[in-house]
Homo-oligomer: 320 residues x 2
DNA sequence: CTAGCATTTGTTATCGCTAACATAGCAATT
DNA sequence: AATTGCTATGTTAGCGATAACAAATGCTAG
């Protein structure tokens, strides 16, 4: 027991004893067993985080924000990839809950019925991110992808573009992508631009290359198109490069806009107009919210459901 | 006990009993507690993985390869970011070991003395990746960054370039980056090209933007430079865009090469010559190796140390 | 009907730690 | 010297699962 106390800080223990213990620990190469500790103290120090993917995506930044926010709190991320599938998400939720995380962060507000039930009954703080679900499970840190995409449409409209197209993936698995398209369509209608032009190409998340191919199709199908909004900066970049290849001047002949404010949109030439959505901050603020929620849980005073709407802003650059 | 049996497969249990239990489980929303299970069975199902970073980096692909390889094995990744710092790595090794992972995968072969000791005494399979350490802790899945960079130099030399520069970060924290520079320098000497031109700019991992700025400096310092090798595709891309801005024709006026075969190098215009290093495969094969090693460990027959050298190849594209 | 075997269920101890309480030690105060 | 009030250490009893063994049940065959 004294050893146990020596190894955590804040316990009252004589300096002499502690030193003796520490020396023994170092000599023996002893490492505390946290599974056993967790079992006893009922605090695992885990936070489960489910993201669609971590490769070339905004979610990596969100994960990083979370990691940073949790720095020093003794909490550790348990990361899972859902691959943009709610079925896989359900599986992951279950296997994560087996580890008894102290909170769980998921991406988006769409889950399987059972997935949702698992979340609701988990007895731990739940945070949905990157979205603004109509019926949140509990806490939310996100924004409306539809609204964000709509504001991009209005921005282009304000610059004089009328024949505006949307490039995205073929399915609705990527709900954020689907929301963006929805926002595009609504904004077009609202502006009286009847003929929405949607190119669906590739399973989400669509790659740079697929963005390029989609642009090729777009040009073929609607040669008079004036601007293309891409579901993400990556596809926008692919589209932009395809324009280079075809010697189509951007933005003179066609304007290109992306979504997400990846570094690439800032650095490419021409730099790409995009919607900045503060991916890192979503993670960071989810982390901070979660710390408060866990604190409350430990004190037996569960926090009231909180919804944090994060900012987004159209970032106008050379490509529009 | 019967419940415990019902919840794992392969146990002999009457179908009727199992169904009854499953129903109760579903009704109660009961979820197994794996910390308790791990404590008892001495198998946590964790694999610790330490990577420098997961944002815009090859390591995300490696993590993905690992995840895929471990799919269905019941093992779960415990991911940690070292931020390219061996001190942070040491901390992470310790906190990971507290979770009693069944194997640990680290990036690179450089560790603090204590970090190395912890790895050696952990009593679990250790895999070092992305490098070819002189004295591996145990297993290795990697390649020589120096050799790979050297072969890129030779490739450029073969194409007639002589005044070849290297763009990288300012410190040696990123040991793989440092190795690449070393390989560059050695190859230049070996080819009789005396005047190595190295631009160090930004703390690793250097960004696209820093790659662009570095190119600007390079041109200023050595206006006659014919080719630039960048420490990664991201900086190469930044450099390439800077060339666009300055209306320097690539590869006519200056050739640009990267490292890592990120998607961006394939899609950019002009497409960037790079060294393909099979990031995903490194993860995948580390995962497979690790499964065998864990299997051996469980049977009480530890596996002999194994070194897997992964392939790399210069991929010649339009930028050189 | 019962021995004999296979299958299914039950018991007990244990994994390595910590919460909660109990005791010991020690200085200050009266 | 006795009392009080600390702080430092020790004891005991779990946390919730599983390993290992023990018992019960079911089935087949003689």
């Amino acid at each position: 027991m004294t050893v146990s106390r020596a190894l955590k800080d804040g316990a009252s223990i004589a300096a002499k004893t502690r030193n003796k213990i520490m020396k023994a620990v170092e000599d023996l190469g002893y490492v505390l067993d946290q599974s056993a500790g967790s079992l006893s103290s009922k605090r695992t120090g885990f936070v489960a985080v489910l993201v669609p993917s971590i490769n070339n995506s905004n979610f990596a930044d969100t994960a990083r924000g979370l990691t940073d926010a949790l720095q020093g709190s003794g909490l550790q991320l348990l990361l899972g990839y859902t691959d943009y599938s709610v079925e896989k998400e359900e599986e992951l939720i279950e296997s994560m809950l087996r580890r008894r995380p102290e909170a769980i962060v998921v991406t988006g507000g769409r889950h399987t019925a059972r997935g949702r039930r698992l979340l609701e009954n988990a007895g731990i703080p739940v945070i949905e991110t990157w979205d603004q679900p109509a019926k949140p499970v509990r806490h939310v840190v996100g924004f409306s992808n539809a609204e964000a995409a709509a504001s991009l449409v209005r921005h282009l409209h304000g610059k004089g573009y009328r024949k505006i197209a949307f490039i995205g993936g073929t399915t609705n698995r990527d709900t954020r992508g689907a929301d963006r398209r929805l926002g595009y369509e609504r904004a077009m209608t609202a502006l009286g631009l009847k003929d929405a032009r949607v190119i669906s190409f590739g399973t989400p998340p669509i790659t740079m290359q697929q963005g390029g191919e989609a642009l090729a199709r777009l040009i073929e199908q609607w040669p008079d198109v004036e601007a293309a909004i891409c579901v993400s900066d990556l596809s926008a970049f692919g589209a932009l490069m395809e324009c280079h290849r075809r010697k189509l001047q951007v933005p003179k002949r066609i304007a290109i806009a992306g979504f997400g404010d990846f570094e690439i949109s800032r650095c490419s030439y021409p730099a790409i107009t995009t919607v900045g959505v503060h991916c890192y901050d979503i993670g960071r603020r989810a982390g901070e919210l979660l710390l408060r929620a866990i604190e409350g849980e430990r004190k037996g005073q569960p926090m009231a459901a909180e919804t944090i709407i994060t900012n987004y802003a159209v970032i106008s650059r050379e490509s529009t």
